[in-house]
Amino acid sequence: MPVYRDDVVAWIKAVGEMIAENSSYLTELDSAIGDADHGANMERGFKAVLNKLPEISDKDIGTIFKTVGMTLLSTVGGAGGPLYGTWFLQAGMKTAGKMELTLADWTEALEASLSGVVMRGKAELGDKTMVDALTPAVNALKQAIQENQPINAALELSADSAKKGMEGTIPLVARKGRASYLGERSAGHQDPGATSTYLMLKVAAETWKKSI
C-alpha cells in the first residue's frame, strides 16, 4: 500500500505536535553546543506550517511539501530555516503532482532532500550535523528496496538508522555551524539538528504504520 496524500498531511501534523512537545529538549541540546534556539525556532516554524495546513491539505503532495518548505524558510531563521526549508522544497519537486507515494517515491524524495541539505549547508558525513542522521536513513530505504522489504519495515529501518546516526554524533567534534567554535569541547553532546531529523523520521514511521 502506498502513502496517500492524507497520510502525508497527517505526518506533517504529527511532526508539528512532536516539535512542540520536544521544543525545550531541542533547545537544551542546542544550548550545550550552539545558541539555544533550535527548539524555539522549529516550534515557530511548524506553528506557521500547522496554520497553513488546512488551506493546502486538498492539494497534491508536491504542493504540500513545497508550501511547508517555503513556510519554514520564512519563519524559522538561523541555520535550521534554510536547511529544513530546502529539505521540503527538494522533496516537493520530486513529488510534484503526486497524490500518493510508493516506497521508491519516498526514497527518491528523501534522497533529493539530503542532497539539497548537503549542498546548502556544505556539511559532510561526520561533521556532527543533521546529515549524520539523514544519510543513514536514506541508505536504509535504498537497501530495503533492494531487499524487497515491505514499506512498513522500510520506514522503521530508516528511522532506526537515523537514530543510530543521531547517537553517533555524540562523540563527534563539530566541523560546521556554531558548534564548531567549541572545537574539541563539542564532543560528548548530541547534535540538535540530527535529533530533530531523527524525530521527524520516527514520526513518519509511526504515523504511516497505522494507515498502510
Binding site: T75, G78, P82, R175, Y181
Partner: protein, 333 residues
C-alpha cells in the same frame, strides 16, 4: 531578568515601530517581511547596499540605514538570522538598476539565508553580489570550523561601501571595497558580563563577578580563555596582540581604530581602552589616522568591548570621510 520591555515576543516589532517614527526623515520600515529602508530609495543607477542579521546588536544594522551607508537592513529575531524573504524583498525594494551588494557576517545561518535570498533575487533578474565579513581573530580560521566570525569590520565596511555606492561606482567596484575591508581588518572582543536574550529570560552564560571572557562573540559565544579580571591596560594588550600579529601590519601603515562597546560598558571606559590601544599601535609603528569610539555593534546589555583595526589606503580614507546621514553615524551631511 530586568529589562525595559513589554513582552519578549514583541521586542523586535516594537523597536521597529519606534525606529520608523523616530527616524522618519531618514528611513521607512516595512513589516512582514521586516526590513528597514532608506526613505529616498531606490536610487536610480546606484548600487544598493544591504546588510542584516539577528536583532540585539543595535545600532547595527538598522541604525546605519541612510545616505552614504546602507540602503536597507533586515533584522531577524534577537540573535537569530533573518529569513530569505526579508532579504529578497529588501533587495527588490532598493534595486536602482545597478545591482545590489549583500554584506553578510560569517555565521552559518546568516550565510545560508542570504545565499537563498541572492539566488531568488538573481532568478528575478537582479544582479547580486555577496561579501562575507570574517574578522574575529579569536576564532581559529580552519577548514574544520565555520571560520572566523564577522564582527567590527562589518560596520566599517558598510560605511565604506555605502560611500562608494553613493559615487555611483559599479557593483563589482563596491564589492571590491568590501573585500578590501575584509582583507585589511581584524577584530577581537572581551566580556565582563553575559547578556540575556529576552525570550530566554536568563543570562546566556555564567561569568562570575571576578572573571572575564577574552575572545567573546557578539552572541555570547565562548571565547579563547576565561580568566580573572585584569586592568583595562592589560586587557587592551590581550586584545591588541592577536589582532596585530594576525595581519602583517607594517610600520608606517595607516589604520582606522574602532573601539566598540558591547552594550553595557560606558563610553568613558571605552576611551580608557582606546588610550592604551592607540599607544600599542603607535609602538608598532602604525599611524592611527581615523578613529571610531562607541557602542555601534552591541550584544544586548553585555559589558565589554571589542577592538577593530582596519588598514586604510587613500581611497578608503576618502570613502570614510565622505558624507553620511544615518541614525547612528552622521557627518558632512
Amino acid at each position: 531578568m530586568k529589562k525595559l520591555i513589554n513582552k519578549p515576543e514583541n521586542v523586535v516589532r516594537e523597536a521597529l515601530e519606534a525606529i520608523a517614527i523616530a527616524h522618519a526623515d531618514l528611513l521607512t520600515v516595512h513589516f512582514d517581511p521586516n526590513f528597514i529602508m532608506r526613505a529616498d530609495g531606490p536610487i536610480k543607477g546606484k548600487v544598493g547596499v544591504i546588510s542584516g542579521g539577528g536583532s540585539g546588536h543595535e545600532p547595527m544594522h538598522g541604525g546605519f540605514v541612510g545616505m552614504g551607508m546602507l540602503d536597507a537592513a533586515c533584522p531577524g529575531a534577537v540573535f537569530t538570522s533573518p529569513t530569505p524573504d526579508q532579504m529578497l524583498e529588501a533587495t527588490k525594494a532598493v534595486n536602482g538598476g545597478a545591482g545590489v551588494l549583500h554584506i553578510v557576517k560569517n555565521y552559518t545561518g546568516d550565510i545560508m539565508n542570504f545565499e537563498m535570498a541572492a539566488e531568488l533575487a538573481r532568478a528575478e533578474g537582479i544582479d547580486v553580489e555577496a561579501v562575507v565579513t570574517d574578522d574575529d581573530v579569536a576564532v581559529k580560521d580552519s577548514l574544520y570550523t565555520a571560520g572566523r566570525r564577522g564582527v567590527g569590520v562589518t560596520v566599517l565596511a558598510e560605511k565604506l561601501c555605502g560611500a562608494a555606492a553613493e559615487q555611483k561606482r559599479s557593483l563589482k567596484e563596491v564589492a571590491d571595497i568590501c573585500r578590501k575591508a575584509k582583507g585589511f581588518g581584524r577584530s577581537m572582543g572581551m566580556a565582563l558580563t553575559s547578556c540575556t536574550v529576552p525570550h530566554a529570560g536568563k543570562p546566556t552564560f555564567d561569568l562570575p563577578e571576578d572573571q572575564m571572557e577574552i575572545g567573546i562573540g557578539i552572541h555570547g559565544e565562548p571565547g579563547r580563555i576565561r580568566m580573572p579580571l585584569k586592568s583595562a591596560d592589560e586587557i587592551t594588550e590581550m586584545l591588541m596582540e592577536p589582532i596585530i600579529s594576525d595581519i602583517p601590519y607594517k610600520p608606517g601603515d595607516e589604520v582606522l581604530m574602532f573601539v566598540n562597546g558591547l552594550g553595557g560598558t560606558p563610553p568613558i571606559e571605552l576611551y580608557i581602552i582606546y588610550r592604551k590601544a592607540h599607544e600599542i599601535a603607535t609602538k608598532h609603528g602604525l599611524k592611527v589616522v581615523r578613529s571610531l569610539v562607541g557602542p555601534y555593534m552591541t550584544s544586548l546589555e553585555m559589558a565589554g568591548t571589542s577592538i577593530t583595526l582596519l588598514k586604510m589606503d587613500a581611497d578608503m580614507l576618502k570613502l570614510w570621510d565622505a558624507p553620511v546621514k544615518t541614525p547612528a553615524l552622521r557627518w558632512g551631511a
